[in-house]
């Protein structure tokens, strides 16, 4: 999430509202998103397509692993 510049695209356009901007700062002084509802993530990768900073992406993982392993950090 060091690349994130907190544009909020991923948060806004995640169809299932998996993400929210965190209040913590990354090293560049931005608030990157964090996963607030991992169970809702469909792995659609829309967040990944929207992200202008190549800082996030979604994958279709086996249902069991869904709540983890999806968002690069």
């Amino acid at each position: 999430m060091e690349r994130c510049k907190a544009c909020g695209f991923c948060v806004e356009f995640c169809p299932t509202k998996v993400l929210a901007l965190s209040s913590a700062f990354n090293s560049k002084g931005y608030h990157p998103p964090h996963v607030v509802a991992p169970e809702k993530c469909s792995g659609c990768d829309l967040c990944g397509m929207y992200c202008p900073d190549f800082a996030i992406y979604g994958t279709k993982t086996p249902a069991a692993a869904k709540q983890e392993a999806k968002h690069e950090s």
Binding site: F9, D45, P52
Partner: protein, 293 residues
């Protein structure tokens, strides 16, 4: 989670990250869609060359891990033309900004479309000259405030899909950075076509266009795109003009068949010269290279 890597990572020169684009800039989003279109289309990345002009968008060439050429302002298309004609096996993508392609590069744009050179042109239209600090572009909507239109722009702006259709492009589409899936699909479709394809992507430049015009930040702009866009595939391009805050007609407007430049060249030469004609690509098929020895 360390074993997982962002799928676009392999398309990027990660040693050049972070990129220079501002927070909320749409250019990165378009690159993301482009990368995903490449993955989906399964195209051979070694045969793919990307050519940019100068501008914020022009920097795309510096970030993609492809044979990538950062040319001069406005001249990405003729450079790409040379590349393609010298090695017809290449897939050549031109990736540049609205000012680069339609202001200083406007002549090359219409002539390459006329000739139907087999190029895929991705035009990131942020309605402004961003790199140089936010001056009026031929795409800037009326009344917008820019660095060179301090009292509001008043020149009519180009309706690029309309111009490109009239000039001869075989594939013309417009999307916004909100339309990530459609954009990726369009890029994929363009790769299926042989001929001049033009995809316009309306994209936020919060730093120099939106803020100066009190249109908010990148996210506000994305929301506006979402609201104001009307998907009208096949719409007459003459009805696709843009205004500062009005409707944005998006969609695939033109998808037609015309033989591309090299096909026509081969046909005409063969008609006139018959067997005496030696196609340039035959050179490449030969053993040993006449250039490198």
């Amino acid at each position: 989670m360390s074993e997982l890597v962002n799928p676009v990572e392999s398309f990027l020169r990660t040693d050049r990250m972070p990129h220079i684009w501002c927070p909320g800039c749409g250019i990165g989003t378009t690159v993301n869609c482009f990368a995903r279109a490449l993955i989906d289309s399964g195209i051979d990345l070694e045969s793919l060359a990307l050519v940019s002009g100068i501008g914020c968008t022009g920097r795309v060439a510096g970030y993609v891990k492809l044979d990538s050429f950062h040319t001069t302002h406005g001249r990405a298309i003729p450079f790409a033309t040379g590349l393609k004609l010298a090695n017809p096996k290449l897939n050549v993508v031109v990736y540049s900004g609205d000012g680069d392609l339609s202001a200083i590069g406007g002549n090359h744009l219409i002539h390459a479309a006329r000739r139907n050179i087999d190029l895929k042109v991705i035009c990131v239209n942020n309605l402004i000259y961003a790199m140089t600090g936010g001056q009026t572009a031929p795409t800037t909507p009326g009344h917008a405030i820019t660095a060179t239109s301090p009292y509001g722009a008043f020149e009519p702006s180009f309706n690029l899909p309309h111009l490109l259709e009239a000039a001869g492009a075989v594939y013309v589409a417009r999307w916004t950075t909100f339309h990530v899936r459609q954009l990726a699909r369009s890029i994929g479709e363009a790769f299926q076509k042989k001929g001049f394809s033009f995809i316009e992507v309306i994209s936020p430049c919060p730093t120099l266009y939106q803020r100066r015009n009190q249109l908010g930040d990148g996210l506000d702009t994305m929301k506006y795109y979402k609201e104001a866009s009307k998907v009208r595939n096949g719409s007459p391009t003459s009805e696709a003009g843009l205004t500062m805050t009005g409707e944005i007609v998006v969609g695939k407007f033109v998808d037609r068949e015309r033989p591309d430049y090299q096909t026509m060249m081969t046909a005409q030469m063969t008609e006139s010269l018959g067997e005496r004609y030696i196609r340039p690509e035959m050179e490449h098929e030969e053993e040993g290279c006449g250039v490198c020895g």
